[in-house]
Amino acid sequence: MQIIKRRKTRELFLLWLLLTPSLAIFTLYRIIPLFWNGILSFQFWSPYKPAEFAKLYHYQEMFFYDDAFWRVFWNTVLFMASAPVGIALALGIAVLVNTQVRGRNVYRTIVFMSYPVMTVAVGIIWQWLYNEKVGLINYILISLGVIGRGIPFLQSFELALPSVIVASIWQVIGFYMIILLAGLQTIPSELYESAAIDGASQWMQFRRITLPLLRPSVFLCFVIGIINSFTNFDLIFVMTQGGPAHATDLLITYIYSTAFKLSKFDYAAALTVVNFLFFLALALLANKASGGEAGAVEIGK
């Protein structure tokens, strides 16, 4: 009995040892920062003086006096609202790629190619495509006669955010397509065959069979789209640096510039808390709406 107990203790010890490195990293870089953020948001923090307790000063500043914050918040919401567009496009592409055409793997690769490449390079390319004087997009629009002169896409208040959203959709559409493809391939073809025998048209097959069975995948894409709007730092930073007067600032870029350009760590911590709570609420909502475990995705990009 003693030997078994000692072996069990040894085994327990070994298992905890195996867990330690990962646990240590998560504690150090996820859990502690989360709480430290919370604490920081209630302090006046400066690298030179000891911190003082600030009560709700930063939150007041954020909600009542900071117009930029509300602009940034709204931008993030708009970014999220654009996810369905990307998902719908990706769904169309996925359905087409899922057919028996020759070379569909080539198409799949080409569409997906935009995702694993470096976002910084993508940002530089798109920023230059949108260039007012020599950008390709302006050239095409002018050649087609749609406009007379080049539009300064990334310098105008109204067009900057949609332009960035288009670039972001370009980059992420491959990812959506892959997920939707995986979902499409789990639908057994007998369903389609029996529906065809029963006389259902293509469109009706799509509506009644494909769409309902794809719900988990589509919700997963929604969750990814939401997460993307909270973490999409590289593209915005390179393309517009937050845009003409915060027109393209998302919460994460605003937090970065407040913390590391203006060195207002305490206010940025309060922003981060709000950011995190907003994100958490949306993620839990999406989870509930999809009826259970839609899958939490960790995008480390």
Binding site: P21, D234, F279
Partner: protein
């Protein structure tokens, strides 16, 4: 399902493919000819292509240094990820007291995106004295929960009869991991390698925060700094873009299947 014409599908998919490829083709063309930076209208076919912008990039930017930094950090991250995640995945596939708590803990950590932690992570890295260092860049991403669960699922799938037989033969726990579990989980290892590599290779925000020295910069950082210096006045910027895109594309094209499998597995938790 078999009798519809294929050509409209090819037409649509072909158009989509062209749209998706335009940015790549455009940047390649400009890096070779330097047109379209000042001249207008932009030409479609390259005239007078030359490789001299690549020479400019090589000599005016410490490209090799940035490449080496990126490689070092990525290698550290991938190695640490495989080791730590496999260990944690194995531990989670055994039964022990407190396992449920640990799993709940991990799941809740998954809800904390990296971007939320940047300020305290910066302060912590500063306290540890790891600013401006490879280790500092690698440390926060040395373990990811998604990959732990991938390993756990893979290890759970190993039939316990195999493990029991090995135990009876006297194999220690380490032996079990190394000799039985890992060889049967090559796809989990491949997923881990791919995901960890891509995340750390493309990681921009974290090095941006903690790196101040110019020669510790990684490729994304070097590229964005070059952009602010040159601001699109020279084809060398686009040559730099191409040189930076190439490794990612090459690796992606080589490891496509593992890549796609890894992303779908990682996205649909566990």
């Amino acid at each position: 399902m078999h009798r519809y014409p294929h050509w409209p599908i090819h037409l649509i998919l072909g158009t989509v493919s062209i749209l998706m490829l335009i940015p790549f083709v455009w940047v390649l063309k400009t890096s070779l000819t330097g047109e379209n930076i000042f001249s207008y209208p932009p030409a479609i076919l390259p005239q007078n292509p030359h490789l001299y912008y690549y020479v400019d990039v090589w000599y005016t930017i410490p490209f090799f240094r940035y490449l080496v930094n990126s490689v070092i950090v990525s290698a550290m991250v991938v190695a640490a990820n495989i080791v730590f995640n496999a260990m944690a995945g194995y531990a989670l596939s055994r039964e022990f007291l407190g396992k449920r708590t640990i799993i709940m803990l991990f799941l809740s950590c998954m809800m904390i995106p990296f971007q939320v932690t940047i300020i305290p992570a910066y302060l912590i890295t500063k306290q540890l004295g790891l600013l401006n260092s490879h280790l500092g860049m690698a440390l926060p991403v040395c373990s990811t929960i998604v990959c732990i669960f991938v390993f756990k699922a893979s290890f759970d799938a190993v039939p316990s009869s195999l493990v029991d037989a090995a135990r009876i033969d006297g194999l220690s726990d380490w032996g079990i991991i190394l000799k039985i579990m890992l060889p049967l989980s090559t796809s989990a290892v491949a997923t881990n390698v791919i995901l960890a590599f891509i995340w750390s290779w493309n990681n921009f925000l974290w090095p941006l925060i903690i790196i101040r020295d110019q020669d510790m910069q990684t490729l994304p950082l070097g590229l964005s700094r070059f952009l602010t210096v040159v601001e699109g006045t020279t084809g060398a910027l686009y040559a730099f873009c191409v040189m930076v895109l190439l490794p990612g594309l090459v690796i992606f094209l080589l490891a496509q299947k593992e890549f796609i499998a890894g992303l779908t597995k990682g996205a649909a938790k566990g």
